[in-house]
């Protein structure tokens, strides 16, 4: 069975980001998607702290300490970009103005439920950030994650066992094994990476998978 590297999952997500989209990339893995969107597409990246038009990392020595993204990394502003305060930024997110949010996840469920802010370990402090606002507000929420935990336990489930970030929020799931759409009929495999069979991927998934159409 073929498991994609994180960079390859990011490339796969990037293929589905259309020209002209306003996009928020979650911290961690999803941030890498920006590296792979083809140059002939103009995509405007939003950062929750208050930036539209986020550009690539600055050259060493050129960093502005105040100019960081949601992952606290130094970034630049592209021509045409702008700054705003946090309440206005979340009006964009909650108010349905962003086309796509790509989020990491602990778990995603067949009904589109998303869990990515807390685990069942009470000693480990939870952190929610902007995830719940994106879950309710972005026009489409894509999840990007490994298909299983490190112990090969499924992260795609019939029902999330961890506390929810949002109910019915997820539209599509990109993993290292497959691309899966959340539909009214259930989870439908959109794409199996070459070398992976539906049966193999199903065995690592905690909810029934419908075959590609």
């Amino acid at each position: 069975m073929q498991r994609l590297e994180p960079e390859q999952i990011a490339q796969r997500v990037a293929r589905d980001i259309p020209d002209g989209a306003y996009v928020n990339l979650g911290i961690g893995l999803p941030t890498m998607v920006a590296n792979y969107v083809p140059d002939d597409r103009q995509v405007i990246y939003h950062s929750e702290n208050g930036i539209l038009g986020v550009g690539p990392a600055p050259a060493p020595g050129e960093e502005n300490p105040e100019l960081i993204n949601a992952g606290k990394q130094h970034v630049t502003l592209l021509p045409g970009g702008c700054y705003f305060d946090n309440a206005e930024s979340f009006a964009m997110m909650r108010g349905g103005h962003l086309d796509i949010a790509v989020l990491g996840a602990f778990q995603a469920a067949a009904n589109g439920d998303l869990a990515n802010w807390a685990t069942d370990n009470d000693r480990y402090p939870p952190a929610v950030g902007g995830a719940m606002d994106l879950a309710v507000g972005a026009k489409q929420v894509f999840v990007m994650m490994r298909h299983t935990t490190r112990d090969n336990a499924p992260k795609i489930l019939e029902k999330c066992s961890f506390p929810l970030t949002g109910a019915g929020a997820v539209r599509r799931i990109y993993t290292d094994l497959a691309v899966i759409d959340v539909t009214d009929a259930g989870l439908r495999v959109r794409e199996l990476y070459s070398g992976n069979s539906l049966e193999e991927v199903q065995a690592l998934t905690g909810a029934p998978l419908l075959p590609p159409e």
Partner: protein, 227 residues
């Protein structure tokens, strides 16, 4: 003649009391009024309630208040960042109360306080653990959670340039929570990099009108957290 300029950080925070609620601007390492936070630490007021997006990393900023055990409770959206050792230590000890608020709800609650609103209904967190115990309502078929305003005794913010009237500009993404916290503090204290004569800031570039700022103080040189 209006002059909100203070002569020292100590003077700017002299009337902070034990148990006060203090908002601190910033997101990650950006836009934090570090000199004011250090003055607050030296002031020594205890049992503080801190409202800020993060809980500080290493021993800088808010983490320095945690290390000195001056904070009873923290209201924030993302307390756990790489290097937030003091928050994690106190949380594990049960020595600090955490009120975890989704970030957009945090900023809108702050804005609501500054705008004189009694609260608002948001779809964020509806049906999740963070909405437990809160009033909910279905409006036009969609579920919402009632969220109330967040007020503060003091708001400590960071601007780039300011004038004696309290008008402020910001440096890029250093703006973040600072303009809304300026609105929500009973007393808002702004740390700026430079104070310029009244009338010289471009009125179109002023992001915080001076009416929201009570006290203003300039620092020598730039003020940035360690990355």
């Amino acid at each position: 003649m209006i002059d909100k300029t203070m002569t020292s950080m100590t003077e700017a925070l002299a009337d902070v009391r034990d148990g006060d609620t203090v908002m601190i601007g910033g997101f990650g390492s950006s836009g934090i009024p570090l000199h004011l936070v250090e003055a607050l630490r030296l002031h020594g007021a205890r049992d503080l309630v801190i409202i800020s997006n993060n809980a500080g990393v290493a021993e800088d900023g808010i983490a320095s208040l945690l290390k000195d055990r001056l904070v009873r409770k923290i209201v924030c959206s993302f307390p756990r960042s790489a290097g937030s050792i003091w928050f994690e230590r106190l949380f594990e000890e049960g020595a600090i109360e955490l009120d975890l608020v989704p970030q957009g709800t945090l900023s809108e609650r702050i804005r609501a306080a500054g705008a004189g609103l009694g609260g608002f209904f948001t779809p964020t967190a509806y049906g999740t653990r963070l909405a437990e115990g809160k009033e909910t309502r279905v409006i036009d078929g969609r579920g919402y959670v009632l969220e109330k305003p967040l007020h503060a005794d003091f708001a400590l913010i960071k601007g780039d340039r300011g004038d004696a009237w309290g008008n402020l500009t910001y440096n890029t993404a250093g703006r973040n929570f600072n303009p809304i916290m300026a609105m929500a503090g009973k007393i808002t204290v702004a740390q700026v990099n430079t104070i310029v004569p009244v009338g010289t800031l471009d009125p179109e570039a002023v992001a915080t009108p001076g009416i929201f700022v009570n006290r203003l103080i300039a620092v020598e040189g730039e003020d940035h957290a360690a990355a």
